[in-house]
């Protein structure tokens, strides 16, 4: 119906594919990762061995994976979308049953020496399966209730499992990623309006449930909400992180305090400075210039992905591209919004910059598929 019917000849083959890669995207991703290395070197107090070097190795492996995935034909990804979703779902259930306790939340599953975070894999698998679903679904059925409820169920099932771990950040990411694919696929805006109304109602319900028998969130989650609303309630307790993060960020000023000169980060006032709060280090040491540069790089990545999607006549490839880049967008938007005090604190790293192997690998694999869609796009 789609790919094989048209322009088979137009698609590059073999190593010629390399010429058709989205090279600007590769450069942008590398630039962002380099900023990450620099910041990890800085927060380690000038010691590359602690975080920067492992991060560079992982990035190298991730880039290799990206290229490898980019060369895989598009139809393969469509073919494995359903099965990968099912496998990820089973892994999430397995984590629920046998997963190790890490950081107070069940997130990992051990495969010999390899530590797997199925919730991370699910971010890509969900986008894959939804893109395949809307590629398969005739356009006229897209907004029919039954055909809307099916993908909603596909989103909510893993979300619920992740939320139970509990990992609020990832579950938001899953919902946002799935929602973006549905939005791009053309699901009626009424549904989105209804969902927003429902979310507002839910938020009210959650807040009202506090302290009652049917309390919907854990106490620490409620505290995070309190902290978000007014960080000064508990400046040395739960609000400490966000207060210190904002001080670091704001004190950067126009051009920052200089590389490795940030007092907030260097003197340990910043929590989690190598992971969730790494943006504040950048903002403190390189100021507005540094922070806005990173934001522009991120925006350009989204822009190139969006352009690729808009010019892609293959529906699966376009939706996949939008889904992956949308997930990436939600990633950095939540993280930045969080450290700037626009959003509540949810555990969410800054993509490609924060220290963390799995997240980076998964993201680069996702971009590998984006590249694949780009290389194999219908022209």
């Amino acid at each position: 119906m789609s790919y094989l019917d048209y322009n088979v000849t137009a698609a590059p083959t073999g190593f010629r594919k390399a010429l058709y890669l989205n090279w600007p995207l590769v450069l942008l991703l590398s630039a962002v990762a380099c900023i990450g290395f620099l910041m990890l070197y800085s927060v380690a107090g000038g010691d590359a061995d602690i975080w920067a070097k492992p991060q560079i190795y992982r990035f190298a492996v991730g880039m290799a994976a990206m290229f490898a995935l980019a060369f895989v034909p598009m139809w393969f990804w469509r073919g494995v979308s359903t099965i990968s979703y099912v496998i990820c779902l089973l892994l999430l259930i397995a984590v629920e049953l046998i997963g190790d306790i890490g950081m107070g939340a069940q997130r990992w599953i051990e495969f010999g020496p390899f530590r797997l975070q199925p919730s991370e894999l699910m971010k890509i698998a969900l986008v894959l399966v939804l893109a395949a679903y809307y590629d398969w679904l005739p356009i006229k059925r897209v907004s029919r209730p039954l055909w809307v409820l099916t993908p909603v169920a596909m989103i909510l099932l893993p979300t619920a499992l992740v939320l139970k771990q509990p990992d609020l950040g990832t579950s938001i990411m899953l919902m946002a990623g799935g929602g973006i694919v549905m939005f791009a696929a053309g699901v009626s805006l009424w549904y989105f309006g209804a969902v927003i109304a429902a979310v507002v109602a839910l938020v009210v319900a959650v807040l009202e449930s506090r302290g009652t028998e049917w309390q919907l969130l854990k106490d620490y989650q409620f505290r995070r909400i309190d902290t978000f609303i007014d960080p000064s309630v508990d400046p040395l307790g739960a609000g400490y992180n966000i207060t210190q993060a904002q001080i670091a960020l704001g004190s950067g000023g126009w051009s920052g305090r200089g590389f490795m000169q940030g007092t907030q980060s260097r003197l340990n006032f910043l929590p989690e400075k190598h992971t969730d709060f790494i943006f504040t280090v950048l903002a403190e040491e390189f100021g507005f210039v540094g922070a806005i540069s990173l934001l522009v790089l991120y925006a350009l990545i989204i822009g190139f992905c969006l352009y690729s999607a808009l010019t892609n006549r293959d529906r699966f490839g376009a939706l996949l591209t939008i889904g992956i880049s949308g997930t990436f967008f939600v990633y950095f938007a939540i993280n930045m919004g969080m450290v700037m005090g626009l959003l509540p604190v949810v555990g969410s790293p800054l993509p490609l910059v924060s220290y963390g192997g799995t997240a980076m690998m998964i993201l680069l694999m996702g971009f590998g598929m984006v590249q694949s869609a780009h290389v194999h796009r219908l022209r």
Binding site: I139, G250, G252, R266, L267, A309, R313, A318, L319
Partner: protein, 648 residues
């Protein structure tokens, strides 16, 4: 056709419109983030910068070096020494201090008792407060801790200055000592200097150290340091050294003080040496003494109990705090009151039959057989009590008390020492106020010979002697200079007593020492240029009952120590041109002539000679004993005076 249909279908399958809409939304979010960044980093940067600096920059006080105390010749009598110690911060030890302490106890001795105290302190104090684990380490111990630093997490070896008293016990009562600041100390101070909060800071507790605390303390310096979120210092940004406290020079002569302390020995006694012209106190010695260094280091319970339970009361300063009935040393006061009032003149005589009857009570003279007819000079020479009983009845207590106050008794002298006693120069008003009773004539008789209500400190007796010798109202003085600036010597006013009158008392005191019948003839000084005048005193600690008297008064030797009489002696020399006045009180030492006079004479000789008393200054039969005493003494050899302000 098919193609265009496909194109149309294809177009609706594309994500164009929704994609652009999504891009718009994302652009909006990115713009929001950028605006927020702009607001925080460009518009409010200054506020956040202030908060960041407030977070990370702290002011740490540097304790100032305490001012030194010199003696009148520039010898350091209170200095500062380098003190090596180790402190531990719980936060830096990773929360659990017990293993670190155990490891440390293998390097430096920490008693189980101390260990328990430390653990309790750690549990009470904040995790970032450094607590001193061990103090006054030797250089070897300090080094071994530095070498083992990796295994001793959170242990910081540090050095600071600590007070040291090189003359140990000699000056303990004068200078007092310093110690760590207690909550009680803080509660007494309004608006305390922040430097007092430093754990290693030492505050003057008693004596000169306490009284001159504001001068000696100096000014704290400060360091601006960058700290991390746990309060641990990362680096020093700037440093402003404190100002050392002023060097205080006392009027004390440390060598004389040393000799006096040795001469008093194990007696429970006090000696004061005063310059009769300036009032400078050259020695104020209370015996037995204690080592103030022990208090600085934190005295052990055992040592402290030994001091408090000692029946000779080493902690009490007998020179200014101790008050005693002055006994016969008070007779000059009564005599001068009589002479000045015109009731008697030098030639007036009273007959001493050994006692006198007043108001149905019999008052005895110390010589039971009586002295016979006595004039003023003889009354002092032989210390006849009845002469003064007769005199007191004629002069009246108020004039005697007035004379006592003019001579410095019953008056608090202003010295930078702790608890300077006022003593008592009793009169009618005093007894009315104190006991709400009428003054009785018997009270006058007792007071006339320095018994009864009369109480004076050795310091006051020295002042009295100096005033008799000089005819001026000499005031005692302890501080010679502060920071090199000499303290002004208060101009002494005349006592308002005619020399003719004073000479009567002076001649009497001379006769005590240098006439054949003088009570203290044995303690005389032979060279005429050092000729000494003095007066003995023996003050009863108990009342002698009629029954006892009937049996015959038991001699002091047969009494338990604490019921024996106090021996007193006051003197000045040289007789023709007085320079020094000395008073000595030996608690329960027996008679003044035997217990106190030889000591006073030796101390006076040391002051006059500026060194060990020459043997040929004393009667030949005492030279052997004096030589034996000197060889048994452990005297400091004076170090050459240190120039300038050194941190000894």
């Amino acid at each position: 056709m098919k193609k265009s249909q496909r194109e149309a279908q294809d177009g609706s399958r594309r994500v164009g419109r929704r994609g652009l809409l999504l891009g718009g939304i994302q652009l909006g979010v990115v713009t929001t983030l950028a605006l927020r960044l702009r607001s925080m980093q460009l518009e409010h940067a200054e506020e956040y910068r202030l908060l960041a600096d407030g977070n990370s920059i702290k002011i740490r006080l540097l304790p100032p070096a305490r001012g030194l105390i010199h003696d009148r010749n520039g010898l350091v009598i209170a200095g500062n020494e380098q003190n090596y110690r180790v402190s531990l911060t719980r936060e830096e030890a990773g929360g659990d201090v017990a293993p670190v302490l155990r490891h440390l106890s293998t390097l430096v001795p920490i008693s189980d008792e101390r260990m328990a105290e430390l653990l309790e302190e750690f549990s009470k104090r904040s995790a970032i407060t450094p607590i001193i684990l061990a103090d006054r380490l030797t250089w070897e111990q300090f080094g071994s801790i530095a070498v083992n630093a990796p295994a001793l997490r959170g242990v910081t070896p540090e050095s600071g200055l600590s007070r040291v008293y090189p003359r140990a016990g000699d000056l303990a009562h004068v200078m007092g000592y310093v110690g760590p600041v207690s909550d009680y100390d803080l509660s007494k101070i309004e608006d305390p200097d922040p430097v007092l909060m430093l754990p290693e800071f030492q505050l003057g507790k008693v004596g000169v150290e306490a009284k001159l605390e504001p001068v000696l303390r100096g000014k704290a310096g400060a360091r601006r340091v960058e700290v991390n979120s746990a309060g641990r210092e990362m680096r020093e940004l700037s440093r402003q050294e404190g100002e050392q406290g002023a060097t205080v020079q006392l009027t004390i002569d440390a060598q004389l003080q040393n000799y006096a302390a040795q001469r008093l020995g194990e007696e429970s006694a006090a000696a004061v040496v005063m310059d009769t012209q300036t009032g400078d106190l050259l020695s104020i010695c209370s015996s037995p003494s204690f080592d103030p260094n022990k208090f600085v280091r934190g005295i052990s319970t055992t040592d402290y109990r030994a001091l408090t339970e000692h029946d000779h009361r080493p902690l009490a300063d007998k020179t200014v705090q101790g008050v005693y009935p002055p006994g016969s040393t008070f007779k000059m006061v009564t005599l001068l009151a009589g002479l000045e009032s015109g009731v008697i003149n030098g030639g007036s005589r009273f007959y001493c039959p050994g006692h006198t009857e007043v108001g149905g009570r019999r008052f005895h003279c110390w010589r039971r057989g009586g002295h016979g007819s006595m004039d003023a000079l003889q009354s002092l020479q032989q210390s006849c009590d009845v002469y003064y009983y007769e005199l007191a009845q004629r002069v009246g207590i108020d004039r005697i008390a007035d004379m006592a106050r003019r001579l410095g008794l019953g008056v608090r002298h202003d010295l930078p020492m702790s608890a300077v006693a006022e003593g008592i120069a009793p009169d009618r008003a005093w007894k009315r106020a104190r006991y709400d009773q009428d003054w009785l004539i018997g009270d006058s008789l007792n007071a006339s010979i320095g018994q009864g209500f009369v109480l004076a400190s050795p310091l006051q007796l020295a002042v009295m002697t100096a005033r008799i010798a000089s005819g001026l109202d000499i005031k005692p003085r302890l501080v010679r200079s502060v920071d090199g600036v000499p303290e002004p010597i208060p101009a002494a006013q005349s006592l308002g007593l005619d020399d003719a009158i004073l000479n009567q008392a002076r001649a009497g005191m001379d006769a005590v020492m240098n006439s054949t019948r003088g009570t203290a003839r044995r303690a005389r000084i032979l060279p005429d240029e050092w000729r000494m005048a003095g007066k003995t005193g023996t003050s009863q600690v108990r009342n002698i009952t009629a029954a006892e008297r009937a049996r015959g008064v038991i001699s002091n030797d047969q009494l338990p120590w604490n019921r024996r009489d106090h021996g007193l002696f006051v003197c000045y020399a040289p007789y023709q041109a007085p320079r020094y006045a000395v008073s000595v009180v030996v608690e329960h030492g027996g008679g003044g002539s035997t217990a106190a006079a030889p000591i006073a004479r030796d101390i006076m000789l040391f002051a006059l000679a500026g060194g060990l008393p020459p043997l040929d200054a004393v009667p030949s039969d005492q030279r052997g004993a004096m030589e034996a005493r000197h060889s048994a003494m452990q005297l400091y050899t004076p170090d050459p005076p240190k120039p300038g302000r050194t941190r000894a």
